[in-house]
Symmetry: C2
Subunit: 159 residues, 2 copies
């Protein structure tokens, strides 16, 4: 195995970073303009909504969000202040607590979702042929399978 990527691989990696930075910036801009909701808050709301009873331990939430792993605690604090999330103490672990989706949080997510999905379609999905979606999914699934092993090797095994 060569120790470094060839120019085509490196160009693909840079493009991935560019696509990520640019599309998330566009999605953020539209979501803030139309719903007053930053993308990092959308990410938290979505992950809570997909969890049983709309609640996750902070550690679980940190493992599932994709945009604000660092600074998550402060982000959730601000969402509590905004009424989108509330805290609930763990019954079986006095030191731990859950982040729980409020009705207001669920409503904010419901209003934001069409704007967000339209943005994904407009800025990402519509530019890809079905076969490209298949190739990307297969390749990235392999990358993720290896990453889960690599992550498990390191200090952040919970993530």
């Amino acid at each position: 195995m060569p120790a470094r990527p060839d120019p085509a691989q490196l160009a693909a990696w840079r493009l991935l970073l560019e696509v990520h930075a640019t599309t998330t910036e566009l999605l953020e801009r539209e979501l803030v303009a139309e719903r007053g909701l930053p993308l990092s808050r959308y990410d938290v709301l979505l992950n809570l909504a997909e969890a049983p009873e709309g609640r996750l331990r902070m550690q679980e939430l940190s493992a599932s969000v994709l945009l604000s792993k660092s600074g998550l605690s402060r982000l959730v604090d601000r969402m509590v202040e905004a009424g989108l999330v509330r805290r609930e103490r763990c019954q079986d672990d006095r030191r731990g607590w859950f982040a729980v989706l409020t009705d207001q949080g669920r409503s904010a997510l419901r209003r934001a979702a069409p704007v967000h999905l339209r943005g994904i379609q407009e800025h990402f999905a519509r530019h890809l042929e079905p076969v490209e979606v298949e190739v990307l999914t297969a390749a990235f699934s392999r990358v993720m399978a290896a990453a889960r092993v690599a992550v498990g090797d390191g200090p952040a095994a919970g993530w």
Copy 2:
């Protein structure tokens, strides 16, 4: 054009976010462990090194970095304190200033690059077949071409 992505497209989008979050986390972890350099600093050093005379206006730097667009000003402040970057006033614009790569910054980049490139190979490139690299590059180039138009439509036209 449908207003939302189909399930396969949405899964591909989520995978892109996951691959980005996970691989950058792995690259960050290795670069910090082996060279004491956060990935955001590497990103700044690399962009300055690729610029003429190793210097960029803050606005140009903000347009070129891919990881720390928000918080860039504080990041550069800390890199100035660490001796990796210095400030230089623009001669033709009294209010503006350049971020300039120092010898120490260039040396830090040179020592970090092999670790970073090895990580891209290990965690991303080696999992992709050459044809997948081609497909990804073609598809993402189209996404970026459209994004540049979309970004130009909005308030952040300089970016």
